[in-house]
Symmetry: C2
Subunit: 215 residues, 2 copies
Amino acid sequence: MKIGVLGTGMVGETIATKLVALGHQVTMGARSRDNEKAAAWVKQTGGGAAQGTFADAATAGELLWNCTAGVASLDALAAAGADALRGKLLIDVANPLDFSKGMPPSLSVGNTDSLAEQIQRAHPECTVVKAFNTVNCHVMVDPGRVKGEHDLLICGNDAEAKGRVREIATGWFGWKSVLDLGDLTAARGIEGYVPLWVRMYGFFGSPDFGVKFVR
Amino acid sequence: MKIGVLGTGMVGETIATKLVALGHQVTMGARSRDNEKAAAWVKQTGGGAAQGTFADAATAGELLWNCTAGVASLDALAAAGADALRGKLLIDVANPLDFSKGMPPSLSVGNTDSLAEQIQRAHPECTVVKAFNTVNCHVMVDPGRVKGEHDLLICGNDAEAKGRVREIATGWFGWKSVLDLGDLTAARGIEGYVPLWVRMYGFFGSPDFGVKFVR
């Protein structure tokens, strides 16, 4: 499948690399067409990997991943443009973390709104599903790094789109438990969990952990 | 032990009832000395149960529990007064949930601050430990209602006080896993989890669940 990955950071690189390894044609999008990090990724990855602007990646992809920093996501998607996004599934893995005031980061949006909702409002031409943002990027694409059972939390307004994300999570990445928490307003809770994730990272001293909801 | 429980709602009643069952002398505090819900609780509970104002309960207790609604906690503790709180451990189980704008509730404080920190700043004369707020009140005092292993999250600025809360959780209530997430700023994450708890409640259709962090 042709896939666009927006973002050249650790999250974008990890997901894009996994998708190429699965045999997909991946275009990594950045602000500029000659972004150095994207160029280095294309060079080391080889066949199946391409780079371009956010608009290039969104145009090329039948499936899109928002892996930009949360505080930059709306700008990145505006740069991608409505024509490139139209009719596509956008998997939003970004977290609206503001590191500008020091550690730990705070949320740049939350409580009565969420980044996923902001993106969906700004881009009604695409279908947003929030997913994967509650674990480190290495766990996103390899949930077996965590030894015990753990849950993937997803939400979105479109049932078919969530079904596709469930298939991607289980079939492509190996997730065993995917919990659909409902419409996109659930992203307030799913993104709002991330400050606790940051604390747990400090507690464990490792980002290789997940969360299991237990009855 | 003499214990003061501030709050007459479901959380206060559940905790106060458990504490009496464990043999403690519990005073339930309310805004007024003749609060009807507290009176009904005393009548049905019998020996070991008493009622009074917030100040009465805080004065009577060697150990205090904040079980008031989060949006009313600062007023309740102001009414209790510094003299009654001085030198005591206050276990803060409240969540700053604002139901005034409909469901789901939003947080009245969060992200860069927390209710627990607000309480500690307003009352440096007592020692605040955040605990138990990540589960339903019936699970708080009976964690075995959840069949699988699950974690209790606590935080606070005083190691000895957190040690006492750990003993209360494990020895009195039967918790098997207590995770100390550090100083009281961790309450931003612990309280910030509650909107996700609300979503999970909707997902499960039951409040009898817990959360396990998995390596």
